[in-house]
C-alpha cells in the first residue's frame, strides 16, 4: 500500500519535473534535441574539422560517444545532489530519500531514449544496416542504466554528509569524459595504455554501442557483465545508506 504510493509519487514527480522543465521555455521539448545536437556539432567542428581526427565513420562515431556520455553525465551530476536539494521538502514531510535520486535517474533516461531513437534513425539513414546485434542495445542500455544509477544513488547518499564531494563530482565527470573515448577509439591509444583504458566502465560501454551500431558486431558480453557486477557492488551499499539514514538526512541537509 505504502510502496504503491511511493511508486506513484516517483512517477508523478518525474512527470511534473519534466513538465516544469519544458513549460519554462517556448519550444519546450525541442530543447531535448537541441541540447545534444549543439554538443555534437561543437565536438564535430573541433575534432572532425580542426583536428582532422581520422576514424572510420567519424560522424556516427562521435554522435554515439557524445549522446551516451551526456546521458551518463546527466544521471550522475543531477542525481548526486538530489537529497541535498530536497532539504526543504524532507524537513516538512517524511518521504523516503530513495525517491529523489530515482526521479533524477528516470528523467535523464527519458531524455536519452529520445536521443537514442534519433541516433538509430540517423545510423540507418547514414547507410549503416539494421542487423541482429542491434538487439544487444537493450542489454547495453540496461547495463549503463544500472551503472550510472548506482553512482547517482551512492553520491546522493553521501553528499549530504560530505558536501565537498559535490565539487569532486564535477571534476571527476570532466576528467572521465576525456578518458572514456568519446572523441577517440581504443586503437588510437598506445598498446600499453589499453588495459588501463578498459578499466573504465564508460569506455567499455561506449565501445559496446559503437560495436553494435557502427560495426554491426556483438558487444563484449564479458566486459558488460563485469560492469553490471561492479554496479551491483555500488548500488547495494548506496541503497543501504539511503534507507539506513532515511530519517537522519533531514537533520544534516539544513
Amino acid at each position: 500500500m505504502r510502496d504503491q504510493h511511493y511508486f506513484d509519487l516517483i512517477l508523478y514527480k518525474t512527470y511534473a519535473d519534466v513538465r516544469a522543465e519544458t513549460a519554462r521555455t517556448y519550444i519546450g521539448y525541442l530543447w531535448w534535441l537541441i541540447d545534444p545536437l549543439v554538443a555534437m556539432a561543437t565536438y564535430y567542428i573541433v575534432f572532425g574539422v580542426f583536428l582532422q581526427t581520422q576514424t572510420e565513420d567519424f560522424i556516427p562515431f562521435l554522435l554515439i560517444g557524445v549522446a551516451v556520455w551526456q546521458w551518463f553525465a546527466a544521471t550522475v551530476s543531477k542525481g548526486a545532489n538530489t537529497v541535498r536539494a530536497a532539504a526543504s521538502l524532507i524537513s516538512q514531510v517524511y518521504i523516503p530519500k530513495l525517491v529523489f535520486p530515482t526521479v533524477a535517474i528516470l528523467i535523464a533516461f527519458l531524455h536519452f531514449v529520445v536521443v537514442l531513437l534519433l541516433l538509430i534513425a540517423f545510423c540507418i539513414f547514414y547507410g549503416l544496416r539494421f542487423s541482429p546485434p542491434y538487439t544487444a542495445l537493450v542489454l547495453i542500455v540496461a547495463v549503463q542504466f544500472l551503472f550510472s544509477g548506482s553512482l547517482a544513488y551512492l553520491l546522493a547518499a553521501l553528499i549530504p554528509f560530505i558536501p565537498d564531494l559535490r565539487n569532486f563530482v564535477d571534476y571527476g565527470l570532466r576528467m572521465l569524459m576525456f578518458l572514456s573515448g568519446v572523441f577517440f577509439a581504443a586503437e588510437q591509444l598506445p598498446e600499453w595504455a589499453r588495459p588501463w583504458y578498459y578499466l573504465n566502465p564508460m569506455a567499455n560501454l561506449i565501445e559496446s554501442y559503437r560495436e553494435v551500431l557502427i560495426h554491426q558486431r556483438w558487444p563484449d558480453f564479458g566486459a558488460l557483465g563485469l560492469v553490471a557486477l561492479l554496479s551491483c557492488a555500488i548500488v547495494v551499499p548506496a541503497i543501504y545508506l539511503l534507507t539506513r539514514y532515511d530519517r537522519v538526512y533531514p537533520k544534516v541537509v539544513d
Binding site: Q4, H5, D8, L9, Y12, K13, A16, D17, R19, A20, A23, R24, L89, I90, S91, Q92, V93, Y94, I95, R247, V248, P250, K251, V252
Partner: protein
C-alpha cells in the same frame, strides 16, 4: 475522550540532537530536545507552548516521523502523523491542478485519493479558471489559498499544526480559520503549536510547555497555557493582577531544578553524560544564583502550582 483512554502516542524522555559542524572533522553535538515526556490521547487537541528555540519544531519533526529521537522512546499504535505543510513542493510552471496532485501526494494522500478530491480543492481555493493555469501567474494570495486547500484535505491519524490556522486575505483567512478550527475541535487527534495563548486556550484540551528542550509542564490547557503566559508576559500579568509578586523567578528556578534531575537520570544510562554534566553544572549555578536572589520559598510554591518538580517531563502528567 482524552485522558483515561489509552494514549495513541507516548513519549518517554525523548531527546534529539544535531551535529554542528565546527570545522574540518570537528563537530559539536547540540541537544535541541533533552527530556520530553507526554502522552497524546485519541481525539484530543494538545497544545504545545514554549519560547523560540525551546525545541518545538524538533518535537514536531519527531512526531511526524521525519526524524527519530536520539534517546528515549516513543511508544504508540504506529499511526500516521503529518505536519500540515502549505505549498509543499509547488513547482511554479505547473498548473494549479498539477501542483495540487503533486503536493497532495507528497503530503501522503494516495493518487486516487487526491484525484477524488481535486474538484473540492478547486472549489475551496476559489481559483475558478485559474486552476488550470501555471501557478507562476498566481498572486501570492491565490497560491496561499491553493496551498491551504490542498493541505486541508489531509486526513492523517494525528494532525500536526505549526502556527498556521488561516491564510490569505481577510475573507479567506476567516473561512480557512473557521474550517481549521472545526477540524481541530472534531474527533481528530491534533497537536497544535502556537505562540498565541488565546488560540491554544480556545482550541486545546491539554497543553505541553516546553522549556529549553524539556517538558516544563503537562496538563489541562487552561493551567499550562496561563502559567506559561504569566511567566513570559509579566507586563500583561502585572496589569491584570498587580499585587502578585514576581512568580517568573520562581519558574526559572523550577526549570533548573527539573533539568538537574532529568540530567542525572539520563546521565546514568546514556552516553550523553558529558553534555548533560555541563548542563547540570550550569543549571545548578544558575538555580543557586536565582535562589539567593529570590529566596527558596517561591520555587516550592510554583512546584505545587504546576505539580511538577521531580523530573523534567513528569509534571502534571495525566492532567484533569
Amino acid at each position: 475522550m482524552g485522558p483515561g483512554a489509552k494514549p495513541v502516542l507516548s513519549l518517554h524522555h525523548v531527546g534529539a540532537s544535531y551535529w554542528l559542524r565546527k570545522g574540518f572533522f570537528r563537530r559539536r553535538r547540540f541537544w535541541a530536545l533533552k527530556d520530553v515526556s507526554f502522552d497524546l490521547y485519541p481525539g484530543e487537541s494538545l497544545g504545545v507552548v514554549g519560547r523560540n528555540g525551546c525545541g518545538k519544531s524538533t518535537l514536531l519533526k519527531i512526531l511526524a516521523g521525519i526524524t527519530r529521537p536520539d534517546k528515549g522512546s516513543i511508544s504508540g499504535q504506529h499511526l500516521s502523523a503529518t505536519l500540515l505543510a502549505l505549498q509543499l513542493g509547488f513547482l511554479p510552471y505547473l498548473t494549479g491542478r498539477e501542483n495540487a496532485m503533486l503536493s497532495g501526494m507528497m503530503l501522503g494522500l494516495t493518487r486516487p485519493g487526491i484525484a477524488e478530491r481535486i474538484e473540492a480543492i478547486a472549489e475551496f481555493a476559489e481559483l475558478g479558471d485559474f486552476f488550470d493555469e501555471p501557478i507562476a501567474e498566481y498572486s501570492a494570495g491565490m497560491r496561499a489559498r491553493l496551498g491551504f486547500a490542498v493541505a486541508f484535505q489531509l486526513d492523517p491519524d494525528i494532525l500536526l499544526i505549526d502556527e498556521v490556522l488561516g491564510v490569505g486575505d481577510a475573507q479567506f483567512r476567516e473561512k480557512s480559520t473557521a474550517v481549521m478550527t472545526e477540524k481541530i475541535r472534531s474527533d481528530k487527534t491534533v497537536v497544535l503549536v502556537s505562540h498565541n495563548a488565546e488560540t491554544l486556550l480556545e482550541l486545546c484540551d491539554r497543553a505541553v510547555w516546553l522549556e529549553d528542550g524539556c517538558t516544563r509542564a503537562v496538563g489541562p490547557a487552561e493551567e499550562v497555557v496561563i502559567a506559561y503566559r504569566d511567566a513570559f508576559q509579566p507586563r500583561r500579568r502585572a496589569r491584570k493582577r498587580p499585587n502578585v509578586e514576581p512568580v517568573t523567578a520562581g519558574y526559572t528556578a523550577s526549570v533548573d531544578e527539573a533539568r538537574v534531575d532529568g540530567a542525572r537520570v539520563d546521565g546514568a544510562r546514556s552516553d550523553a553524560l558529558i553534555d548533560k554534566g555541563t548542563d547540570v553544572a550550569h543549571a545548578v549555578a544558575h538555580r543557586d544564583a536565582e535562589r539567593t536572589a529570590k529566596g527558596d520559598g517561591l520555587s516550592t510554591e510554583v512546584h505545587a502550582a504546576t505539580g511538577s518538580g521531580e523530573k523534567c517531563g513528569r509534571g502534571l502528567g495525566r492532567g484533569s
